[in-house]
Symmetry: C2
Subunit: 354 residues, 2 copies
């Protein structure tokens, strides 16, 4: 089996070597030191300044998305959400559940998020923009420079779910004035799922987090941030994944995150070129380097099944209304060009009989 999924992904042998080790007890200075280094390396990899805060949650990405909303906003806010698929919808669900007023910019599948579309939301008194930088259900990469500029001119906070964009696409926390950046362990980090992270700007921490009653013990940022000053978490964390993270962040530091983006970009571009040469269709909107959606209506589900059952190649199926329309082919983790050659050949063979 080879994974071309978007999480968990094909892991690196060095990571798996760590995963298979006995875990240490974690309330120790040794583990604290690892956690403080995790914080430093993570912030460095996203271009966040030293004064930014970091929270390590034992949770899926959705837990960190919900935590970001409830620790920063209340019923007195009005938020703007880019809803271009199931992950944008998730931000809306979270706001609805917590009775935080919000409007959506709805993007039907296929539509591109433009500066013109954003300009229609100018001057509406929103306190923040919530966006999944890479809307993973569709593969669209939004223009962070454009969104950042929109937030700056409207004096809005910028909350970026970069769960599947991290490592694949350029992220610069400081340059784009990001206020909360949400990350997760099982995407380009290629670790086991179970840890999600939030990097929080000093202004968000001071102006909002410290003054907001999150209404949760488990997802409270204040508790986590207070504990992280000594390199600890308030509750027993997924220790193993945090050790995997430590190894991986050191590796990313030595490779350089921009180099990592570039390599994923060249892999994605080469694959897309070959796909199109072979007569496959990909969407017209801007794509993340993390994955390539392939339009296969109405045979997407059959393509997924045949790749899995006959070739042991696992691509990512879509749910809901897109199930028959699109498969998503990930470029995250330990995947190489020769894996894509094998995948392409299989896709061509399967297509012949669909």
């Amino acid at each position: 089996m080879k994974l071309f999924t978007v999480g968990p992904v094909e892991m690196f042998p060095e990571t798996l070597e760590i995963s298979g080790r006995q875990l240490p007890y974690f309330r120790t200075p040794e583990f604290s030191e690892i956690m403080l280094e995790n914080e430093r390396l993570l912030k460095e990899s996203v271009g966040a300044p030293t004064e930014a805060k970091t929270v390590f949650l034992t949770a899926s990405g959705t837990g960190a998305m919900e935590a970001a909303v409830i620790n920063c906003f209340t019923e007195a806010d009005k938020l703007l959400i880019i809803n271009g698929g199931s992950f944008g919808q998730r931000f809306s669900d979270i706001c609805r559940i917590h009775r935080i007023p919000y409007d959506e910019i709805k993007l039907p599948f296929g539509d591109t998020l433009t500066a013109k579309r954003m300009a229609e939301a100018d001057g509406q008194g929103y306190s923040a923009l919530l966006v999944n930088l890479h809307e993973t259900s569709a593969g669209q990469l939004y223009d962070i420079a454009m969104l950042s500029e929109f937030c700056q001119r409207n004096h809005m906070y910028l909350i970026v779910d970069a769960i599947s964009a991290y490592g694949a696409d350029e992220i610069d926390f400081e340059k784009y004035n990001v206020d909360v950046l949400i990350l997760s362990s099982q995407k380009a980090l290629a670790l086991s799922p179970g840890i999600s992270m939030a990097v929080i700007s000093a202004r968000m921490y001071e102006e909002r987090v410290l003054k907001t009653d999150s209404g949760s013990l488990y997802l409270d940022f204040k508790e986590h941030i207070a504990n992280m000053t000594r390199g600890q978490t308030p509750f027993t964390p997924a220790v193993g994944i945090l050790l995997e993270l430590h190894h991986r962040l050191k590796q990313i530091q030595s490779q350089g995150i921009l180099q990592m983006n570039k390599e994923m970009q060249s892999l994605a571009e080469r694959f897309r070129e070959q796909l199109q040469q072979k007569g496959f269709t990909i969407p017209a909107y801007p794509l993340s380097n993390a994955l390539t959606p392939v339009l296969l209506k109405p045979h997407a589900r059959e393509m997924y099944e045949a790749l899995k059952e006959e070739y042991g190649l696992i691509v990512t199926p879509n749910g809901g209304s897109l199930a028959d329309t699109v498969i998503r082919i990930g470029h995250l983790g330990n995947v190489k060009w020769q894996d894509y050659e094998e995948l392409l050949a299989a896709m061509v063979q399967i297509r012949e009989r669909l």
Copy 2:
């Protein structure tokens, strides 16, 4: 290093072999089947009937404790909490944060929870009792038969955090009319931390969960239970730990959970006998088989440090007011009698110079 901790604990080589494997993609019938078997085996191991529901959360135990409270109770309830240490306190914190009225039965360190003490709370109109069956900060095991009887005669729901009692002490969901049983991966299951579970009675599900607005997306039981009908979770789970769990539950099934309790009991009793023969003091209240507290005032912290630094033996230190008073020696996971002989010898040597 050898862990005599209460989580993470010394893991079994067979578990670590699984931890070191590449993870599969999880939105597949194969993974669903594993999850449905996880549910069946887990319920069987706690004596829960088929109609009970199970939730697998990617979270620390505290996440599951909070989820249990918010999915079952509201501001219209009045709850009773046994607060005999930091985990009882955690239930109180959760209720305070969610504005759910509660009273506490406070047990100062050293006090035993008696039927007489419970009887003082008879007829007060409480909707439920919240209890950490084994208050892990002190090592006290409460009498589940007595607490169950209290709940029955007062028509109260019974919420049992059995995180550190599971596998060590007898738990019988059906016999004791438990309504929510809370479990976690890193105690007697001896898995990586990161997954916590709740087993929910049919009556609690129908009378409460279905009718309660949990106020959370991530911790909502309804979402989880609906997904578990097809063996899935609403959000990407800690796939690796769920695979470890599957292996371990099969192992526990073939060993028998009562046999597992018995072996841990005989290990704990033999250790306590030897400790006392060597002049160490243990508390007078009833103890869980999961750990042995040793009273070492005012040298507890030094004992912990010396065992760790000089012998590579990691026992569990206490925090807060008990830091200098008590160390806790776990009996969970892959620990054998010869490990305790080594530990006892080291403790005697260290005591000589304290």
